[in-house]
Every structure is written in C-alpha cells, then in structure tokens.
Symmetry: C2
Subunit: 220 residues, 2 copies
C-alpha cells in the first residue's frame, strides 16, 4: 500500500506520481471554487480521470488529500516568507514596510501564483471544522514569527494591538483573492497593482498612534 509510507521499495509499476498529482490538482481546483464540502470525492475522481478509490489509497481520506494540497502550495510560500523576514534589517525605519512586504509578497508572486493565492484565501475562511487542525499545522508558526518581529518595531505598543493589526492585514489579503470581493467591489484581481495597494494600505494602517479618538454618537 501507499499512504506516504510508500515510495520506499522499488519503483512500483504504473503512474503513481501522475495519479497523485492529478488528484492534487483536481482537489485543489475544486476546493478553491467550492470549499471543502464542494470538493466531493466523486467530483475529484472525475476531474482527475482516476478511480474514486485512488483517493483513499494514496491519501487515506478526503482530509488527507486536502492536507497534501495545502502543504504543496503553502509550505513554499511560508518558507519564502521566513527567508525574507530573516533578511529584514532590524529596527530600521523601513522595517515595518519590509516586514509586511515579506509577509505579502510570497502570496502574490510565486510558482502557481493564482492557485496559491486563492487556495490560501479559501482555506482561511473555510467553515468546515476538518480544516481547523490543518490551519494551525500550516500557519500558526509563521504568523507568530511575524507578529513577534513586528512587535519589536513598536516596543511601546500593546502586543495584542500588533497581533490584531496583523489579523486585519491577513483579512484584507484573504478577502481580496476571494470572488465576492471582486464582484461586490469591482476591484481588480490580484496583480502587481493590487499588491502595491495592499502593501501601502497595510503600512499606513500600522503607523503608530490613533489619529483622533472615536466619536460614539447614537444615530439610528
């Protein structure tokens, strides 16, 4: 049998890696469009032109297949994020922008840009509780590193504020690549222009200190 523990003995016959790749591609496309509930085992098998039992054989379960889909695309992005973060000059006046650049750039510009972007946006908003452990598996480490790095830029500010601002940036990033944002706001899909807009928006949002205290009127 396979299930990762395979690939140890000699080659095996047919087109194993091809079957796995076809399953990954089909599952990815369906997940991006329709979420976890919408990527049905039969739809995946049909799109991949593969028998339905192949999913269980190669990935154990539907959740296992999704995990492989996520790791294939998002692990390289997070590696790139970490490498760029490590190259950010400490405490310089440009650090904030450089940190946000390191966080955003690998999502916009990488191998398979569009699938990776949409995949990320989709998984971060997925309601199915099966994906929660996958989210932590894939994202929690890198997020923590970025929050720590950014907090170092604002030693006087509440770290919880930094974390929440980062979640605003992540929200803007994720929402931007989802279909509702493009449809409802008529905004262009992700590209170089969108990247610069989002980066500048995030940098300005992180600038220190609230401008004016907020008014709490009670109009209906």
């Amino acid at each position: 049998m396979s299930l990762n523990s395979a690939r140890t003995s000699r080659a095996g016959p047919c087109e194993t890696k091809d079957t796995q790749a076809r399953l990954l591609n089909a599952a990815e496309a369906l997940f991006i469009d329709a979420g976890y509930a919408g990527m049905s085992a039969r739809a995946i098998a049909d799109r991949a032109a593969v028998n339905i039992a192949a999913m269980g054989y190669h990935f154990g379960s539907k959740q296992g297949l999704l995990q492989a889909v996520l790791i294939r695309r998002i692990a390289p992005i997070n590696r790139s994020r970490r490498a760029r973060l490590a190259a950010v000059p400490e405490r310089g006046s440009e650090s904030v922008k450089a940190i946000l650049h390191a966080f955003l750039w690998p999502v916009f510009f990488n191998e398979h840009e569009a699938p990776a972007r949409r995949l990320m946006g989709r998984v971060m908003t997925e309601p199915a509780e099966v994906v929660e452990p996958l989210l932590n598996l894939v994202f929690s480490d890198v997020i923590e590193q970025f929050v720590v790095a950014m907090a170092a830029c604002f030693p006087k500010q509440d770290p919880a504020l930094i974390a929440q601002k980062f979640s605003f940036v992540a929200g803007a990033l994720n929402f931007t690549v989802l279909r509702p944002a493009e449809r409802l706001f008529g905004s262009a899909p992700a590209n170089e222009v969108s990247f610069e807009r989002l980066l500048n928006f995030a940098v300005d949002g992180f600038q220190e200190g609230p401008s004016v205290t907020v008014v709490h009127e009670d109009i209906v």
Copy 2:
C-alpha cells in the same frame, strides 16, 4: 400555503410566526458555525424542534430560508449604515473617518450584535454559489454608495483605488469576526476595543498617497 404570499387571509391557527422564527434562529446559528453546506435541513429542523417539511412550507427551500436569515439581520445594518452616511459632513477633514465609522459601527453595535457580525463575516466568504445572488441582493447597493462617498473625498485619486481600499477594509472586518482569525492571531473577538482598532487602522490605510515606492527584490 404560506411562502410570504400567506398572511393575507385571516389569522391562521397555530404558531406560524413562532415556527418561522424558530427556523430562522436555528438556520442562522448553524450557518454561522458551519456555512451553507453545514446547515442541513435536518439539523435545522432538529434544532428548531420543528418538522423537516416546515422549511419547504414556510420558505420554499433551503436557499429561501437563508435569504430570509440574511435579510432579517443585514437589512437593518445597512439601513443604519445609510442613515449614518447621510449624516456625514461633506468634504470636511473628518469625512474619511466619519464614512468609515458609518460603515463599521452598525456591524459592531446593533441588536443581536454577535450573530449579526458573524453572519456577515460568514456569508461574505461563503464558497457555495447559491449565496452569490443573495450577496448582490443584500450588499451591492450600500457598498456602491460608500465607495462613491469616499471617492468624493479623494477627487484626485483613481476611483478603482478607493474601491479596492474599501474591499481591504471589508476583508479586515469580515475576517476579524471569523474563528480562524481569533485562533491564529490570538486576537480578541469583536468588541469596543477591536472596533476602535479597526477604525483607526482603516482610516490610516486610506490616508492619501503611498509613502515610498515598493522594492521588488527577488530573494527566494
């Protein structure tokens, strides 16, 4: 039969409005937690302590029930948004903040705050294509009005930039009320503090002009 066209003849017997309210409440709770695919007809009926056929009788279909759920909560929010937007002083230096305040406040503070917030965040990121027409039905008008109002504050800027910045704000707003944001970023759930943070973040993001041009290095 019912289906909205009801309530025309005399009272009807039992507890019609009660049954409808129970269905609405149950569907709302399930949709918030699990999305459209996760709010199954049987789960709704069970939670509402109502026969499963009542959904079809009162709302026509599962999609019809979701539409009623959305309108019940989001229409009042959008009414409040419009009223507040109409009260914003034109072109004043505080207009930007006032417009964003009018956009965000009714989501955070209204009757049934938490359900309304989470409902909004969930529906804006829902993959199921059944909700797309509902999104346009509920949101497109109010969004256009806010983009137009904000564009008037920045007559020299590209309107597409304004629209995209608004989609960043909407993304930050929506993501903030979803569970992944709370879990991954350890940030507090929506409350007064979060509201002010988000408002200030949005205001700063809208400030005119990019700070520095972006660097396009190519680290791996």
